[in-house]
Amino acid sequence: MAEMKLLLEHSNDPEYATLKGYLAKGGYTGLGKALKMERQAVIDSVKASGLRGRGGAGFPAWIKWNGIEKEITKPHYMICNADEGEPGTFKDKELMENTPFLVIEGMTIGGYATQSKVGYIYIRGEFVDACRAMRKAIDEAYANGYLGKNILGSGVDFDLYIHTGAGSYECGEESALMSSLMGERGMPRLKFPHAPLPTVAGLWDCPTIINNVETYSCVPFILDRGGEWYATLGASTKNSRGTKIFSVSGHVNKPGNYEVEFGTTLMELLDLAGGMKGGMLKACVPGGSSVPIINAADCERAIIGYEEMAEVKSMVGSGGCMFLNEHTCIVSFIWRTAQFYANESCGKCTPCREGTKWMFQILDRIVRGKGQPGDAELLVDITKQIDGRSFCGLGDAAAWPVAGAIRVFPEEFEYFIKNGRSMVDSAESRAMAPKWAQPAYS
């Protein structure tokens, strides 16, 4: 199976980011069709498509849409989660920069289906270019009656606002994003069963739908071509339908976004990205920094699909696929991952706040050549104390890569702790390591 371009079909065409170009390529037919359908029929066709959330968790989109109150007692809100922060992922950025109307159309359809009159696109603050592209597209859509009051003469109102983040990975978590949107610190809120679902009480305690950029971008195609058609994509997998954009980076020749059908193998994805650069494949982080790392042997047999990935003890995640060559020191790679989570933990719950920092402190010690016997076991113990105990998924996401790496590459950790230096010993590995860690690589 090769590349299957659906969302990214026209991503290289600058015209596609303008309303004229978008309409010329068949844009807004999905919305046109949706507005002629019953609201429930729109949701049903999303259900038929088998679309699952593309942000990382893979939660079926229609359940959220269907779960929202049918009677309006409070205003309903749509949120687009464009706070892409997962290391290794850059698909939402490209979608917003090159195909902004797909996002807008998807949200408008969602707004119609769930009777929301207001939508917010929460874009991470660093993505100024993406923000500008969205701004331009939204303004254009307003000017031409695709947003605002009485869209396309259907009597449906939908307002879309941009809200930017200001630098917090945690705000990619949906409830933390809502906190941030409400002007609070980006800390997660209580979730079901501890509190009502966002579809009952989300933003400002009103029913709220929150989906990823890529999820919304799929919706116009589903409405245009039918949910059943969409469900034929990726039919070879157990329960993953459609296409998925993978952001391929690391030691590959052509890093970039590649859209593939579910059921494609990981190696095919690597081929699309031009194959390995600078050495043999050693390991791969298939779905963003949060998912466990897999070794070369597992890469060979990995199939892209939510359930299929679990067979190699990893996940599709948000699609940030990092390939690492043989010169990569896994310990140092995990050290940097731990630093990321220690810096990005919001501090709300104990296991994540203290655990991520402690893990980083231990790994930092190891990378400085001061590892103590038993450190690897201690790390595994700490990951067990964090995993499933933290308030939101960030704790789990911080624990998995560490636990996964120690499971897959135990010998590298043992060697580093025992000898105070890395098992990988080459000019390339030295080039990756920070200055103060050089002694461990020479």
């Binding site: 850059f90 923000c131 606002y161 930017t164 030691h251 919001c346 390591a433």
Partner: protein, 202 residues
Amino acid sequence: MSETVAIGTPRPRAPRPEELDLKFSESAVAELDALKTHYPDLKSCILPGLWIAQREYGGWLPPEAIAEVAFRLNRSFAEVEGVATFYTMYNTAHKPGRHMIEVCTCLSCHVCGAYRIVDYLEEKLGVKLGETTPDGMFTIHEVECLDACDRAPVLQIGDQYVGPVTSEMVDKILDDLRKVETPSAVQLSDAVVKVHLRDGDK
């Protein structure tokens, strides 16, 4: 810090609203007013309000800026300070140099040699990460993933991403930046504020 203060000694208190020295320009106030229409409550304007303040106060958020945002949005000072210090893109600790060079060293950039860029910058500018050059021109920072891993190693300068970066490019970037007058944090804040505002708001 061990500050021994006798019981009952009054502590320095936060400024009263009437003591604040408000610095928002008229257009900034207009922008904030336009933003207020985007949300059902004032609290939600804290983040955009802080962006405006960061621009108005020259690229960072001194305590007075935080107090002004809090005053204009009718929130407590502490609450707004809590929000401002949570997010890394608000410069609350100290005023950065004219240009902030933010080096991503996270995962993909790490394996693509971001630390060599850090070394090069440190050597070239003679300062460490997080420090500002003595002439106040550059501040270098290490940041977490900028999500431009296809361009690793990547730098963020103002509202622009630059990557993949090499040592030679760094020289050119620094030379070009010296000619730019607008501080990068102001430029970034301004760009962010602008994207919030609709055609109708302007």
